[in-house]
């Protein structure tokens, strides 16, 4: 083994959104000195949007991220509603239902993509599988039925988004104080009946199937799933007035790793009172934390695992039954097993499918929406549970309606500290004092990060971009090993 200090860099991380860079610094004895996950985040959007009319925000933010444009669209719309002068409870009931339907479709298709195409290669083939096999191409080859279902679940969600927004790109669902388009009976019926696209009932059956799959997988692999990249943490998510899981509009609840409440169902419009954002010299991305607990102890996970930890129930019966089982595994205590995020994500898939069915059967969803009259306010805050976790949009507008200030705290920013903890776990438990750093070991760093399904720098993706570079540097900064993979 080389006795000089080595630095291992994985740049960017594969199979996550955008650009990530992992740096593991070893000392002269091969012991881990430091492990960090750097995220190249574009913060320019907050400046970019200044000067634009406030009603443009829900449209412009869709271009912030090609992965979750719907989540940004809805979070911005909720904030802009307030500048328009409408609180959530004053929105036309049909507008709320159409927005919720859109949101469930987005979370459903996003989670389906993550499970079938990002997580399943790790789960089906194992961490030690050859790199050429640890890919969704191999899933398509060896588990054709799974791959086909993944595509059809994605299609279902995307088609529903298209029906609600008018089109897939540049579509408009939410406008200040309402929605842009009425949902028509023939559009609704398409998703209730079995045609080229399977019906919502089939989606529920398939969702039950993937939850059964992950439970069976856990039964066989609980040693690994319970321990890998696990660490105690706080958890943050939205809940309804009854404490149930809430993805579209609720109050913020946080608990610590023991289950003690650290944020007690507070409204989102006070988020600045509760949250601070730490800065580190080595990272472009900030580190949110609960002010009263401080930077060191106040950080929280967000996303599926956190949401199931903070909620008391799920408001759809099949998913709620799965939640009971999920919570029973840790005796009602917070679940800090990072790999159980996959399990939680699939329970949410089932919840979304059930919720979509319920909303499609709700006659009110077809009503024509009337928008309340404008009653301008100077600022608005919209908080939503995006697929990856709590997403906050905050805007201020001047008397002419031009945006003067924008602050976004995206899900991946909340998960900045948790993902760094996960990387540190793998560094300490897998890479530390090894004679040789293998590709399989490096992949485990990525497996830990992938559990969070991070969305990093959003939508620039031109061909020729995003090579995977792995460099091993000695103490003098000299590259002693390098791997480069073209991503496109």
């Amino acid at each position: 083994m080389n006795k000089t200090s080595r630095k291992i860099i994985i740049d960017p991380v594969t199979r996550v959104e955008g650009h990530g860079r992992v740096t593991v610094q070893l000392d002269e004895n091969g012991k881990v000195k430091q492990a960090r996950f750097h995220i190249v985040e574009f913060r320019g959007f907050e400046r970019f949007i200044q000067g634009h009319p406030y009603w443009e925000a829900p449209l412009l933010v869709q271009r912030l991220c090609g992965i979750c444009p719907v989540s940004h669209h809805l979070a911005a719309a909720k904030a802009i509603d307030q500048i328009y002068g409408v609180d959530p409870e004053d929105l036309h009931p049909t507008a709320t239902k159409i927005r919720r339907l859109l949101h469930f479709a987005q979370v459903f298709q996003s989670h389906a993509l993550h499970f079938f195409y990002l997580a399943s290669p790790d789960l089906l083939f194992g961490l030690d599988a050859p790199v050429e096999k640890r890919n969704v191409a191999a899933v398509a080859l060896e588990h054709e039925d799974l791959a086909r279902k993944g595509i059809q679940m994605r299609q279902f969600g995307q088609e529903l988004i298209k029906a609600l927004a008018g089109k897939r790109i540049h579509g408009i669902t939410a406008v200040p104080g309402g929605v842009h388009k009425t949902f028509f009976p023939e559009e609704r019926d398409y998703f209730l009946t079995e045609t080229d696209t399977p019906s919502v009932d089939t989606m529920i059956e398939w969702s039950k199937g993937v939850v059964a799959f992950i439970k069976e997988y856990h039964d066989k692999n609980f040693d690994w799933m319970d321990s890998f990249a696990s660490y105690p943490s706080g958890h943050l998510g939205l809940v309804g007035s009854d404490g149930a899981l809430e993805l579209y509009d609720g109050r913020m609840r946080a608990i610590d790793s023991h289950g003690e409440t650290t944020l007690n169902d507070v409204p989102g419009d006070n988020y600045l009172k509760y949250f601070g954002e730490g800065v580190e010299k080595w990272s472009y991305m900030k580190f949110p934390y609960l002010r009263h607990l401080g930077r060191e102890n106040g950080w929280n996970r967000v996303g599926p695992l956190a949401r199931l930890n903070v909620c008391d129930s799920i408001p759809t019966p099949l998913a709620n039954e799965e939640l009971r089982e999920f919570k029973a595994y840790t005796n009602g205590k917070p679940n800090n097993h990072t790999m159980h995020t996959h399990w939680a994500r699939l329970i949410e898939v089932l919840h979304c499918a059930e919720s979509i069915r319920d909303l499609l059967h709700d006659k009110e969803i077809l009503d024509v929406v009337e928008r309340p009259k404008v009653n301008r306010r100077p600022e608005g805050i919209g908080i939503i549970e995006a697929p990856r976790g709590t997403l906050m949009h905050h805007y201020k507008a001047d008397e002419k309606g031009a945006i003067t200030k924008c602050n976004l705290i995206v899900s991946t920013t909340h998960n900045n500290e948790p993902m760094n903890r996960a990387v540190q776990w793998v560094a300490q438990n897998v890479l530390d004092q090894q004679q040789e750093i293998t590709e399989s070991m490096l992949n485990q760093v990525e497996v830990a990060i992938r559990a969070y399904d991070p969305c990093l720098s959003c939508a620039t993706h031109a061909m020729g971009q995003m090579p995977l570079i792995l460099e091993v540097l000695d103490a003098d900064g000299k590259v002693i090993a390098e791997h480069v993979k073209e991503a496109t």
Binding site: A459, M463, A487
Partner: protein
């Protein structure tokens, strides 16, 4: 890479041709793929189905399944002689799948594996220069777009 579409057997551009414009007009020259489709729709009687994407996704394999011909149009970060390039695209499993980046050859691979279909596919890459958060393209990218459009209208559509 070649801009010479010497192929007498290529299917004509009809309703069963899919044109994927890939990109994001909110990020300057990353919007080249969408701008190309906008111009095709405005300036030609192209009968192909125009599909706008932030990025390709696995479900696009199901769309490709029903097409006779597929053309992927995307911006390119790097040097291209003449500012654009046209080349055939073959299915390949040799790619790193990310939810952010599923390359055209990956979509074709899924289509072939899952549906047993392999439509004729081509790639049109247009060189971009600027990738900042900005609506509107750089003058260089605009020139490359015009050149790529002229090539497409003269050599592919006719």
């Amino acid at each position: 890479m070649s801009n010479n579409p010497q192929d007498n057997n290529r299917p004509a551009i009809g309703p069963d041709t899919l044109l994927f414009g890939i990109g994001n007009s909110g990020r300057s020259d990353d919007g080249l793929g969408w701008a190309f489709l906008d111009r095709i729709a405005q300036e030609t009687d192209c009968a192909g189905q125009l599909e706008y994407r932030y990025q390709l996704q696995v479900e696009d394999a199901a769309l490709v399944r029903d097409a006779q011909r597929v053309i992927f149009i995307d911006s390119y970060q790097g040097e291209l002689p003449g500012g654009f390039a046209w080349k055939p695209c073959e299915p390949s499993e040799d790619f790193q799948f990310t939810t952010h980046v599923l390359p055209p050859r990956g979509v074709l691979h899924f289509c072939q594996e899952l549906y047993g279909k392999k439509p004729r596919a081509d790639l049109l890459m247009i060189q971009g220069m600027s990738w900042d958060l900005r609506i509107g393209m750089s003058p260089e990218a605009q020139r490359h777009l015009e050149d790529a459009l002229r090539f497409f209208k003269d050599k592919i559509l006719t």
